[in-house]
């Protein structure tokens, strides 16, 4: 709180009763939140677990675990199969999950929500199907220098197949992709921009709303990789007006093996199926198949129905806490961690964008990231060390790897202290 007051101008200072009102409304009880996450109470290497790798995958609240268990224990059968009670019940729960995603993203229609295995498959679906329908040799796809490999490699595969051209909007020294740099690369052959909303490696928040407006003004469709962003800020696909948005369930405190592709109805209708199989057809003979309407057209085979149901529970969970309150909590953790880690002299933070999600990437002069992560692990502190599936970002900053601490809705300031203290031990061990 002190830091907040220090930044206040006199005119900004609220009346006491306003502050109390705000505090009451915005009270975020992190200990109550932590009680929902069984794994956070499991000791690791004889110490309390300090889990700071939520950007890689989030831990699961008991509500999500219970949703998946109860679906199997009480409602399970294959969906869309016949008239018997359990299949109907399972289908209802699967459809209900789709409604929850639709509400979460504020999509216009439920059938604009396609369940996939994750953000990676969602992007591959767009590359294959949109690519098949709308891209030809010489057409350009514009990405940013901050993309995860999952939003680079599908386009390279499409380049091999169709001869498209991949353009990359450059990253500045702060780890930002300026809007002007993005706009500069929108050319007459640009057909699609595929842009992450939040960098997984650095935490940078990209100005995607302005990028979408600029792209649309140039007649360019936009895919947003929301894998890192929806967990912090949600998404309103109608307000953003993005053409596609991809995210993964497991980063949103939901299960593995489930993700979402949102796509505008007209585009999805115009795109060919991604995979063929059961559930995605209206009728099949050996001469021809007619495809089912959306969303079934893009959901061949038995889907991850239990995981979809549990993703619905995850959405309920974060919506219940309130994304505004979650992001305020995470922002305060990021500020505090930035302050604490900046005080460690050999440590340099990589990625100093003006707007960041709660991801802190750093290196220490003279200590390899893997050695840092190893010592942190011995203190029960779980962080990621490596290239974060974003090798071009590492190359941009001239490092082979970084250590990345990422903060989620269950992390505490005491855990930031544990991280900082463990890093001071690293310094004593390897440098002093």
């Amino acid at each position: 709180m002190e830091a907040v007051y220090n930044r206040c101008e006199p005119s900004d200072i609220l009346q006491i009763e306003d502050v109390e009102g705000l505090m009451a409304d915005n009270r975020y009880d992190v200990e109550a939140v932590r009680a929902d996450f069984p794994i956070l109470h499991r000791p690791v290497r004889g110490r309390p677990l300090v889990y700071l790798d939520t950007a890689a995958s989030a831990q699961k609240p008991v509500q999500v675990i219970e949703a998946e268990r109860s679906f199997y224990a009480e409602d399970y059968a294959n969906i869309h199969r016949g008239l018997y009670y359990l299949s109907q019940r399972a289908t209802e729960r699967y459809d209900e999950a789709r409604r929850k995603v639709k509400t979460f993203l504020n999509a216009r229609h439920e059938h604009e929500i396609i369940f996939t295995r994750g953000a990676t498959e969602s992007i591959n679906l767009v590359a294959a199907s949109f690519g098949e329908a709308f891209l030809k040799e010489g057409d350009e796809v514009l990405i940013s220098g901050l993309e995860h490999h999952s939003n680079i490699v599908p386009w390279q595969l499409l380049r091999q197949k169709k001869g498209i051209v991949l353009r990359v909007a450059a990253v500045n020294d702060e780890g930002e992709v300026p809007l002007e740099e993005f706009t500069r690369l929108l050319g007459p052959r640009t057909r699609l921009a595929a842009i992450t909303q939040v960098s997984n490696a650095l935490g940078t928040v990209l100005p995607v709303a302005a990028m979408i407006r600029a792209a649309h003004a140039a007649g360019v469709k936009v895919l947003i990789d929301g894998a890192q962003s929806v967990v912090h800020m949600g998404a309103d696909v109608q307000a953003l007006d993005c053409d596609f948005l991809a995210f993964s369930g497991h980063k949103l405190y939901g299960p593995t093996g489930i993700g979402v592709l949102y796509g505008k109805e007209a585009l999805l209708d115009a795109m060919p199926p991604y995979q063929g199989g059961g559930d995605m057809i209206s009728s099949v003979s050996f001469e021809k198949a007619t495809f089912a309407p959306l969303p079934a057209k893009f959901e061949a085979g038995t889907p991850a129905s239990a995981q979809a149901v549990a993703l619905g529970a995850a959405i309920d969970y974060v919506s219940g806490l309130g994304l505004d309150r979650i992001s305020a909590h995470e922002a305060s953790l990021l500020d505090y961690a930035t302050e604490r880690l900046s005080a460690i002299e050999p440590l340099a933070i990589i990625g100093t964008a003006a707007e960041k999600a709660s991801v802190l990437s750093f290196i220490m002069d003279g200590v390899h990231p893997h050695d840092i992560a190893q010592v942190l692990d011995s203190r029960g502190v779980a962080v990621r060390a490596g290239h974060h599936c974003a090798q071009p970002v590492m190359a941009r900053f001239g490092v082979p790897a970084t250590v990345r601490a990422s903060f989620g809705l269950y992390n505490t300031k005491a855990e930031v202290d544990a991280l900082a203290e463990a890093l001071e031990e690293v310094e004593a061990m390897f440098i002093r």
């Binding site: 200590v367 990231p369 010592v375 082979p400």
Partner: protein, 150 residues
């Protein structure tokens, strides 16, 4: 400093901070380069083997974590004066220590075996095995790479 002290023993930290024989060798007879794609670490191993088949000098270069650097540094120290056959024997012993598998005979190189045992703490950290063995597997490749320019 408790906990991963079995991996980061003081002698290992010392070799990591002040590696021995980290230098390029212009007049080597054997060399090889290798990398660990998981972390981007890279090591080049240089050997000078005389006409009698004895390693007269060993060095390494590159950038790597403390475990890989210390392992390379220790390796270059123990290899000098050994034949290719003895170097392979030491590799087998080192690998057995690092993986916790049955230890192989040392053929009279007991002191060297004890020095290499400094790194046997890595057996508790399977993810780091590649770090500890990077220089050694590069050395084996170098033995196959006779007299080619760097």
């Amino acid at each position: 400093m408790s906990d991963c002290v079995d991996l980061y023993q003081e002698a290992i930290l010392d070799h990591g901070r002040r590696p021995r024989n980290r230098r390029a060798m212009d007049n080597c007879s054997h060399h090889a380069r290798n990398e660990n794609p998981a972390c981007g670490d890279e090591v080049v191993v240089f050997l000078k083997i005389d006409d009698g088949g004895v390693i007269r000098d060993a060095a390494f270069d590159g950038h790597s974590c403390a475990v890989a650097t210390a392992s390379a540094s220790l390796m270059t120290e123990v290899l000098v004066g050994k034949t290719s056959a003895q170097a392979k024997c030491l590799f087998d012993r080192f690998h057995a220590q690092a993986t916790g598998t049955e230890e192989t005979p040392l053929d009279g190189m007991k002191a060297e075996g004890q020095r290499l045992a400094l790194l046997s703490g890595v057996r508790e950290y399977p993810v780091r095995l590649k770090c500890a063995t990077l220089a050694w597997s590069t050395m084996l490749a170098a033995l196959e790479n006779q007299r080619r320019p760097v």
